[in-house]
Symmetry: C2
Subunit: 249 residues, 2 copies
């Protein structure tokens, strides 16, 4: 165990947050592509402490490759905003300040807002039915106080809306930003407050309603507010660590 890492304040930020799209279809058979996927998962899943140093050499022997393809992968991850590269000082997993999180949530809110608007233009009755199905399922989890199930159904609903937008570029950007936030989710699980939970359910009712009526502009507003409230709950949770933990019914 090495001594504590000298925190120099970490100034230099990655080149671009980018809403890039790397949906390149599975060309990832090449080594650097393979590494990119594995390394991204490794980071997103939180296997590396926040702001922790990640020496190239260590990752190389970890993946059993040379430095060249690894460095290429690192550059890409830096461009995605997951890590930051300090000149001559190696890579660190990017530590998100509260402000960063707020910004990310707002951008996610904007993307979902857009997704809702677009979805209203193109969604089929069958897809709406599917969302309704998920909604009721989620409601069931809510009644049973099953947070995990609720969380999953919730996520699938939002993904369904994004999918219904029929916009691959949006979908990719959405996935990218979601990845950045997910890292935080892993390290600090968002415990929902009871009150917020009920509120979220009401918002979801409104979402479904607007979607049924295909009221794009309205749905756009609701989704934005929904994510804004989510952001508020998340940030509050981070500032005052735990509010209530009981996940039991």
């Amino acid at each position: 165990m090495k001594s504590t890492i000298p925190d120099t304040g970490v100034p230099i930020t990655p080149p671009a947050g980018n809403g890039g799209d790397r949906e390149e279809n599975r060309q990832e058979a090449s080594l650097h592509g393979e590494i990119l996927l594995r390394l991204r998962d490794h980071v997103v899943e939180g296997n590396i402490p926040d702001g922790g140093r990640v020496p190239e050499r260590q990752l190389c022997e970890m993946f059993g490759i040379s430095r060249t393809p690894l460095r290429e992968a690192l550059k890409v991850l830096a461009a995605e905003g997951l890590i930051e590269l300090l000149p001559n000082r190696g890579a660190r997993v990017r530590q998100l300040s509260q402000r960063d999180l707020e910004e990310l949530f707002d951008v996610m809110a904007g993307l979902e807002s857009l997704a809702g608007r677009l979805a209203c233009e193109a969604i089929t009755d069958e897809e709406i039915t599917a969302v309704e199905q998920l909604h009721y399922e989620m409601y069931g989890h809510y009644l049973h106080r099953d947070m995990h199930g609720y969380f999953q159904a919730n996520q699938r609903i939002h993904e369904s809306i994004v999918a219904a937008a029929r916009n691959e570029t949006l979908k990719t950007a959405y996935a990218n930003f979601a990845g950045r936030i997910r890292r935080v989710r892993y390290s600090a699980n968002f415990a929902r407050k009871r009150q917020r939970w009920a509120e979220a359910m009401r918002e979801h009712e409104a979402i479904l309603d607007a979607l049924r009526r295909r009221a794009g502009s309205e749905l756009s507003d609701i989704l934005f507010q929904h994510l804004r409230n989510k952001r508020k709950a998340a940030i509050e949770h981070l500032t005052e660590p735990h509010e209530d933990g009981p996940s039991a019914p």
Copy 2:
């Protein structure tokens, strides 16, 4: 035959800029960063034909560097969606289908829509005044049929709104997507139809009005529609090449 080391005597600004300040851009002092910027501009400005091959070797001698930093830059550009990397077959500038363009415009619409909403929360009176200034300037260009001036003022207005959103993440993503579209702009200059031009002016009036009243939700709607109309005009222009070319007043 010795390989002369291309010591171009590039300043390489030290990793200054420390402090809590997180400027997203231009930390690129390292070679690969420098190359990334130059190569991105090179591609965005359309110096390479659409779908054209981009041999590493050629670019290397063009920039006077070895392949390693260049390849790193290529990976990043691929992640950004500007080029695509074919396994063992080199890099090609990504050819955007009409569908891709539509998607990009819609995402841009979503981001600007978000920017407008956020701007209404944080914009100062001074900033609004600045936007008004640009608006009148743009109106002047409109009256004088100065398309270039109009275009620039227009762009600055949109950038001002994005800046007023106080969200660096959004700003970065916006710049990224704008870059992808700009490539198309260069190769096929969007000639505005007269009618669309007048329409755009009216929309901008509405934008300014909503911004003055800080009506976030409303501005969000207007901006989205504005970009949607822009998209329509752009796509139409691409399908039926030239409608009117005269840039002269």
